[in-house]
Symmetry: D2
Subunit: 323 residues, 4 copies
């Protein structure tokens, strides 16, 4: 049944599958690889899957535009959670291949800039040709079309290959961020270390208004973690912005900022509030000071839920003549 099926950007043996398998619930789901991000998400939209895991951002290559554009358009979807996966490549070869034997290499186009320096240093004469995915590259090595493929080490077994070199990554801290996407639902409860994703569109008649949009966050003390412009399709110069902000839609400061955007933007799409990956949620704290967020995090003074509530009560007293 669809409630137990998760799709992901396939094929098997990619980093996306590895990321999906870090989720505890993955053990009890049917995991179905799909040929593309749109295909993985369409399965969610039409009810064939409960959720889909797709890459959204890579620390070397940047935003995954297919994912950003799918989330920004079509039937609404929502991000349930995110997964951060360190990216290190293995050079997979058929048993017996030595480094000096490698004349042709393959891998996903996104992998190429992440191993370029390594190639220049260790295989300067090898010819690169792109594959549809890292896993697909491994398959092509298995079939003998290339001598070696860059892929996750975990893909070796699937394709009967051997990792000749491991831990290859030009950039320190290379990692990819994946999101588990489902149909719109009530966001998970705040953990104290959350993130809220939206896509906002600028008014046509108002160039240069990005500053105004950002001020809706700033005035409420909400930090931005990501701002990614995407074309709206209406021609060069027309953009929407995918934004990740610190905090949860249930946090008053975040809610008020979102309402501010909703009022001044022709369109806002809420993409979800979910725990920040790679950050431990703080222990529950019984009592909070006036400028602490959930779980005791320090916030800009005047932006905690407690202060929002106090201010609302004060306003009510003013309106009642009791201030």
């Amino acid at each position: 049944m669809s409630a137990t099926r998760y799709t992901y950007l396939g094929p098997e043996g990619t980093f996306t599958e590895a990321a999906l398998r870090t989720l505890p619930e993955a053990a009890t789901r049917e995991l179905v690889p799909m040929v593309s991000v749109p295909a993985a998400l369409d399965a969610v939209r039409n009810g064939e899957a409960a959720a889909a895991l797709v890459p959204i951002e890579n620390s070397v290559e940047g935003g995954v535009t297919a994912t950003l554009d799918e989330l920004a358009s079509g039937e609404p979807l929502m991000i349930y959670r995110e997964v951060l996966l360190p990216i290190a490549f293995a050079l997979l070869v058929r048993a017996g291949t030595k480094l000096s034997d490698v004349k042709t290499v393959t891998g996903h186009p996104v992998a190429q800039p992440q191993v370029r320096n390594w190639l220049r240093a260790h295989l300067p004469d090898a010819v690169w040709e792109s594959a549809a995915s890292n896993a697909d590259g491994a398959r092509l090595v298995q079939e003998g079309r290339f001598d070696a493929a860059f892929a996750g080490e975990f893909a070796a077994a699937t394709y009967g290959l051997e990792p000749l070199v491991t831990e290859i990554h030009d950039a320190e801290n290379a990692e990819t961020r994946f999101v588990l996407v489902g149909r719109p639902a009530r966001p998970a409860a705040p953990t104290g270390v959350d993130k809220t994703s939206v896509v906002i569109w600028q008014r046509d008649d108002h160039p240069g208004a990005l500053l105004e949009l950002l001020q809706e966050f700033a005035v409420r003390g909400v930090n931005l973690m990501l701002l990614q412009s995407r074309p709206t399709g209406a021609g060069i110069g027309n953009y929407c912005f995918a934004i990740d902000a610190e905090g949860h839609i249930a946090d008053r400061r975040v809610g008020e900022a979102l309402m501010g955007l909703k009022r001044i933007c022709p369109k806002v799409r809420f993409l979800g509030s979910y725990p920040q990956a790679g950050v431990d949620a703080p222990p529950a704290v019984a009592e909070q000071g006036p400028s602490q967020g959930r779980g005791g995090r320090t916030l800009r003074p005047g932006t905690s839920d407690a202060e929002f509530v106090d201010a609302a009560e004060w306003l009510a007293r003013c309106q009642d003549g009791r201030a």
Copy 2:
């Protein structure tokens, strides 16, 4: 009884009394002149009067500091309404006095800079000495201590004097703004052309934060009409700000701005929402577009009550997974 008594900055025959008499309800109130602004307001604080009319701002001399400081400290008071009065002086003399007879003139110190040019042109040799009030100056002329007094023409009869010259005012558009002040109460209903007054204190540890305070208004599209700094008494460099903003506390954009101030300021004192004097309230309008305020006024897009309500409903849908 106190419910029918209004105090005002006396003595009788001042512009303050004239301003008070422009209020329709003045006809049915006992009007009691007081010797000072604090005395007029203390009568309200201790229940001896229902309200007090005091000057708050003069277009030539600026803010009336006694009034601003009384409103900012002590037992809370509230502005119920404002009155704008054009200020023109008459030169009051005893019957028979000619202009060439005038060697000494008097009046309130605030009057002096408003008639300075006229004096220079018409009575260059007359000696000025200040009186406690314009009316008091008239009394001193009546008693023969001065030859002429600057006061409102309406004061002539009270003191048995004659207006020798009228409509004296150096500045075009000279006017004084008065406020009717009472104990805290539910503000009058919005008229569509309202004003909200507050006093806000800056955080000690945060010099230069005035910009932040003003952004709380700006980001919600609330225009400021007055910003007047006053010393807090804690030494040079410590100020609070009396602010008049366009709109009513019942307007969502104003309420949200006030709550924002309440959260980031150590102290905020709400002084009331009341109709703007000198501006006709717009006719009621049956249907409002998305960015019109009460009464059909044009607002900055995204700041009308209707847009606030829409955004709040949208946020609730997002939180429910129905956006």
Copy 3:
């Protein structure tokens, strides 16, 4: 010699070549296709070519990350000018192929989302496989590996194919922006309708400071035309921003904004000032009012060169005690 050689993102027959040929000087240059954006730009860096034409932004797919990243890192390069090209595809087939014969189609991966709707409507059962470039796709059709390729109509002749359908583009106003990139040089003189490109890096210790960076432009009345975040390679959450601003580095307001960025950013890379493509330069205007830019464009009051000069002269007089 290199001074007469321009490289471009090849192969021959791509939109990049078509864009390059819109430049008048292209007629007198040796035009050399390169296999990748880095290869085209490296030829400039090492002196083998005077300039390179590469795509930088597509109205459907967004920023061309290879170009953005090459401009942001490595040996400095500079944008000399930009070219806007409307993008419409032709479906190229071997002579005699009818639409109903087409079972397999190819093209560059970037072309696919731009023709998706057309495919769904006219060739719902055709199988798509990506090619390394649109021109390469045409070659594969010529070789018989696919039935049809999406490419520019101008590519048909090169590969001995016929355009079966033309003017295919899902999005109205689809266009691609290309830049002619050379080694750092004195920017071309202002035309009155110019654009300035920079890449700026945020301070590590100062998340959420994007607002501050944008205010450096806003306070000087400089509009932004593009803001594109790119990862710095230091891990998720570390970004630099490619920014296009209205105006020329020789405009005082732009120069002052750039200096402001230089002071607060750990790194700023100036990428050039050049005429905006697709906008006619205004006729020269003999006299300019105080808030007109070069060529008579209306600017925000207080931001014209004339006003900057006046203010500088006033400041000098103040410093001299002559204000």
Copy 4:
């Protein structure tokens, strides 16, 4: 001759005279009391005096409007330096008067709110009547018209009175700020702890633009020390602003902020750069780090003179194609 004459707000025996005598050069000047602030400043304007010392701000009563308005209008004047004087009153009486004998007290109207609490506690039944100045009140006591006067202790000798009680001040830290005002001249050299005063006018057609004016300071990291609105005389709602900013016109960040104001305001009046009173100038520092001001003060990163110079050189290199 005028070069050796300083006027001040008289009469003799006021706090203004005491403040003037704190200036070393006062010992070698002819000190001439004047009857009013305008009279003291007119003597400077018409060349009869080299400078005038007048009060500009009191920590209890706020801005001295006569001084602010004189500086904002008429022939330009300039502030050469400021003097801070702690304000404590003595109760001056004729020899032999005991506290229980005091039935009537006098003093300047500004003194009254500063001793109100003391009066309530120690002389609850005494009747207050205002005098033209504190010194004048002392004279009236000398003449027997009042029993006691509030004035500076130093005034006792001048008027043959005795200080019955000293160190009277309701507010802790009560102090008055005076300015030494002369004709426009080259400002004194920066000391490292300076202040710059300006008066700025808002555009008529642009209500609510105060935020923009303040941003001209904020974006260059210039802190404000005072913002005082004054009516322009054109009717309620029309204001100019007297502003004190940290730093010297010779500091690049201050100069650039002033030019920004000059461009967007219809009128800006530079009132001088001078040492902050009550703050020791730092010792000269041979070498400065990138974000230190003159004398080693810590500035907001990116706002030191050294950083302005670096940025200007970088801009020049960009314009030359050498960045």
